[in-house]
């Protein structure tokens, strides 16, 4: 293994067609953003899988820690009043 600087890792997001959001497709190594885009084209869209590509260096992504999922997501679990079915309405009421 060399001690030289290796090409950094990039995350690739592809919009498969207009009207849809960009979705995470995978990652790849590239020297800079321009090369990351070109490599993403070759690696992830060889069969017309996309109309738009985003790349971002992986180190810039901040991810939540699944071990903290409890304190992060549980507060939403007991708030049934955020859902329409929480509210009792007579059957006669239409369009609501």
């Amino acid at each position: 293994m060399s001690n030289k600087k290796n090409w950094p890792l990039w995350e690739v997001f592809v919009r498969s067609k207009n009207g849809l959001e960009h979705r995470h497709f995978g990652s790849l190594h590239a020297a800079d953003a321009e090369m990351a885009l070109e490599n993403a084209r070759d690696v992830y869209t060889r069969r017309n899988e996309g109309v738009s590509i985003w790349v971002v260096e992986s180190k810039h992504i901040t991810a939540s820690n699944p071990e903290h999922n409890g304190e992060l997501f549980e507060p939403a679990q007991d708030k049934v009043y955020r859902h329409p079915t929480f509210y009792d309405l007579p059957d006669d009421v239409k369009h609501m």
Binding site: K4, H29, A31
Partner: protein, 326 residues
Amino acid sequence: MSEEQIKNSEAERSRSLEAEFEARIARDEKIEPKDWMPEKYRQTHIRQISQHAHSEIVGMLPEGNWITRAPSLRRKVALLAKVQDEAGHGLYLYSAAETLGISRDEMYHQLHTGKAKYSSIFNYPTITWADMGAIGWLVDGAAIINQVPLCNTSYGPYARAMVRVCKEESFHQRQGYEIMLKLCNGTPEQKEMAQDALNRWWWPSLMMLGPTDDMSVHTEQSMKWKLKRKTNDELRQQFIDQTVPQADILGLTIPDPDLKWNEERQSYDFGEIDWDEFWQVVKGHGPMNKERMKARVGAWERGEWVRDAAMAYAEKQQQRKNKQVV
């Protein structure tokens, strides 16, 4: 708490984490990169995914041998596209392995020093054009049988990579079979060439599905982690049962005198596989092991100045941009 109490409570915590982990897999939940996982799960996946990636990369070499000599432009663009797909598959898989905390550099190092294995099928030579047909038909056929169950494996990034790989792989097998078909409908010499390729690739293709169940050391654990959904012997039987009728359509003979339809089992019986040959090739004594590694390491070393230049250019551009901001 005393030191021993701390140690005990840590061991207990790890046991309960492991039980919860196994339960998640049993419920068919996926494991994602940042989730807690037993060290053995991590190591097994690094080993399998990286070896899978290495197989894709080394697998380009036997076919690369024929790109410049493909018999027509149609065959040439197809073979080029197939080899490019294999590079892509290698990259998806290396990325998936990297999510487990191993660097690309380390994986290449393991491949180049012989520490990591790759599929031993690629240590056989490709001596005629018919070998391109036999590889697509048999080698990719066996690979698909191995890979389809992996689309449902428990490790999310591996499963997602495999979905992409499997989608692309079916063209590979069809282009190989089409090559065989063309040769079999050609002159007697061409058909003879196709038969010769089948003779040489049949047994190594059966070996690709791995050692027999009673010899396979990883099967039990891998089944539990859904890294395997069927045993090697089941996969091999499936491969034989679906391939024999395809050989019949080509008018070729499978080189196994013991091959026989078993009415009771509704499956083919087949002859003894030469496992000594398999282990010899795995251990590095196949016809092309040295040649493949030489080509791979050579390509990596000859490309070093390109990688360095790209990095130097990127750094210079970045510095220039920073200066402008100041």
